[in-house]
Symmetry: C2
Subunit: 459 residues, 2 copies
Amino acid sequence: MKDWKSIDAFFSPKSVAVIGASEQKGSVGSAIFGNVAKIYGTKAFPVNPKHAKIQGKKTYASVKDIPFPVDLAVIAVPSQFVPSALEECMEKKCGAAIIVSAGFSEVGEKKLTAQISELIKKHPHTRVMGPNCVGVMNNHSGLDTTFFSSERMQKPKKGNLSFISQSGALGSMILDWVATQDFGISKFASYGNAMDVDEADLLEYFGRDKKTKVITMYLEGARDGRKFYETAKKVSRQKPIIVLKGGRSEETSKATASHTGSLAGSSKVYDAVFKQAGIIQVNDLIELFNVAKLLEKEPLPKGNRVQIITNGGGFGIVTADQVIANGLRLAKLSQKTVSELGHKMPMATISNPMDLIGDADVARFKEALKATISDKNADIIMVLVLFNLPAIEAQKLSILKGARKKLAKPIIVISIGSDYTEKYMGKIEKAGFTTFTYPSIAARSMKEMASYAEFLRKA
Amino acid sequence: MKDWKSIDAFFSPKSVAVIGASEQKGSVGSAIFGNVAKIYGTKAFPVNPKHAKIQGKKTYASVKDIPFPVDLAVIAVPSQFVPSALEECMEKKCGAAIIVSAGFSEVGEKKLTAQISELIKKHPHTRVMGPNCVGVMNNHSGLDTTFFSSERMQKPKKGNLSFISQSGALGSMILDWVATQDFGISKFASYGNAMDVDEADLLEYFGRDKKTKVITMYLEGARDGRKFYETAKKVSRQKPIIVLKGGRSEETSKATASHTGSLAGSSKVYDAVFKQAGIIQVNDLIELFNVAKLLEKEPLPKGNRVQIITNGGGFGIVTADQVIANGLRLAKLSQKTVSELGHKMPMATISNPMDLIGDADVARFKEALKATISDKNADIIMVLVLFNLPAIEAQKLSILKGARKKLAKPIIVISIGSDYTEKYMGKIEKAGFTTFTYPSIAARSMKEMASYAEFLRKA
């Protein structure tokens, strides 16, 4: 394995060259250069032998003509020109090269693929990502080597989740969706055919990256199963790794071969490897980031006993059903807590779900929350709020923050509704609670969180 | 069973009295009267012996003092006054009475509960809904007997789904969420403790209601299991019934007893009854309405073979995984379709998923869609669109409509993203396609749709 520090040139280059930069609006070369130049200014160099200037900047015929060091080169030229372009980057001593171009092993191409393979062996100082990928984003610095226009795609907020995606298009689609959510992204990498940099290299790098707290991953097939397993096993003890595996059945694993050239692997083998390595495996795109946001924002629970507190009886029941269906347990609060709360709010049902009933105000929620935080019989707390009931003073909900003090237990707040609910859920999020819209997704995410905590206790 | 037509007084009354109407802002009696008066004008009558006028309207000391016929009475007074108020409504010959007040069997109360029970026996001409419910909404006429303020809760669009909820608060919370979605509601009823009108009466009524195409239901426990089963068995052959059962485990079924006074019933018994009766059972709130919208908008499929068409390879793979995980099958298009499409688009992978690849334009999607619609080997079509790829001209997507002509097969369009994607997904919805955001939810909904179609074929 090459030194993990070499990956840094992809995410924190001081200068970037775009080979195949273009003047033609809507083209890949134009979009990539536009995205890079926006942040890198005079340290962004267009390379294209047919133009003297691109997007107003002096353009070089070859990367070797650039009279400055180039840390990162992005190659977006037709596949037949890729080997020579890559060789020039290597001769220029670029630290990293991203090959965006497609048309290699994923379509059964052999000759050009072999040439690239030779170059990677000959010039190990230049790390290569791709081909057939969309490159990287560093959401803290603004670096973006993808070809997505800002009109069509929004940037996620800055945050602590990093995302490794074998598929570039799927990865960027998800990032666009993340922009609508309440959590942020640190770094993104799409590594495509993985001829040099692979999933394990990126795992290792993000495992050591101080701005990454949780690693998410879309994986079709590991290039080197053993290396992936060993790396994941090590990293998962430092930070959570959450994986969505594409191609889980015999039929769909065939499709991955023509997509990213991944070797089909038995889904059962992957399931076992993930489990052994302490990787959290999820079933779909929604889960991937919901589990991640929960792990990023909340402390790990000491067990899997969940206490539900609500002002809506039916809401509490359907959520409790989800808690149980996902293999978590309903907490049984101590007799002391039950009698103290029962004394303070005689009409409420101090059970699980704890139904504070429809006329509950924020003060009643706070009492219930404080008592449950102090009770050792509850590991995780779910607060379900019906905002449409007249008695709840939504504008006062931030006082719940006072009940929390330190992050001793994970607390999840759930509500479903339209504008009014969303407005106050946003405020609760800002007051330091993690919010979810659907009980089923919250319960599933909590289950993965509790399992990861158990894995760490046994590790 | 009383005549189903008697239920009509709840949904289409010509006049409405609110007993316990109030001047006090934020109170239940004020909110209900406000909601009713907004639509009923001079045919909305406040009843309250302590006031001469409420919200500017002449107020009566008793419902019996109103010098006009009253079709529907809404009773929102403290529980001890409910029996006498109800008796007056019955003597006034109201067709229907909704008892919003709580404090009866759900809290173990016996005396008042018995009095109401006697009155229901003595005066069968007045149908009674509740107690402990929020009443009804008729989204076509605007009738709304709930106590939710328009500030806190939005009204769903008008549509063809009707919703029966044992829990009033949960029901109205979901309606508020439905307002953010792309489908509409016809009628809503929360029936609480079900002392007279129960889930089966409402099923029967919605089964015959011309403005209801699909029936959704939140059920904690059926009051009369046999009646429910017989009614559902009959109605499910006319229109789909989709049920979310609350209290599915031993622990949570205890909670339903203190919530709506429902008798705990074994979850396995319910599962069997639902299956036998042709009821579609779902696991959570998201599923309830996603299955319903799919059944409302799309034709029933002839089988469970799904063809995926996409411009995103990874997107196709994760969706195909969901199709298989949910017990559906991947279609295998005929050799003729494969070779014809292969000829027209040599770079695409004409398989399943069918990967039109990243440079696909709308014309390529249209060709693929037309060919798949004509192919007898595909029963359901999923079109997955990555809108952020430069080649797809989102503004032209409505031409896909031309490929559809008649509704021969269900077609579901899926995309995930932010503003740009949402904008064009809205246009696709308007062009007559059903859209989903998450492959997992779409696949699960399709599975229920295919199972229901199979149930009907065998019924």
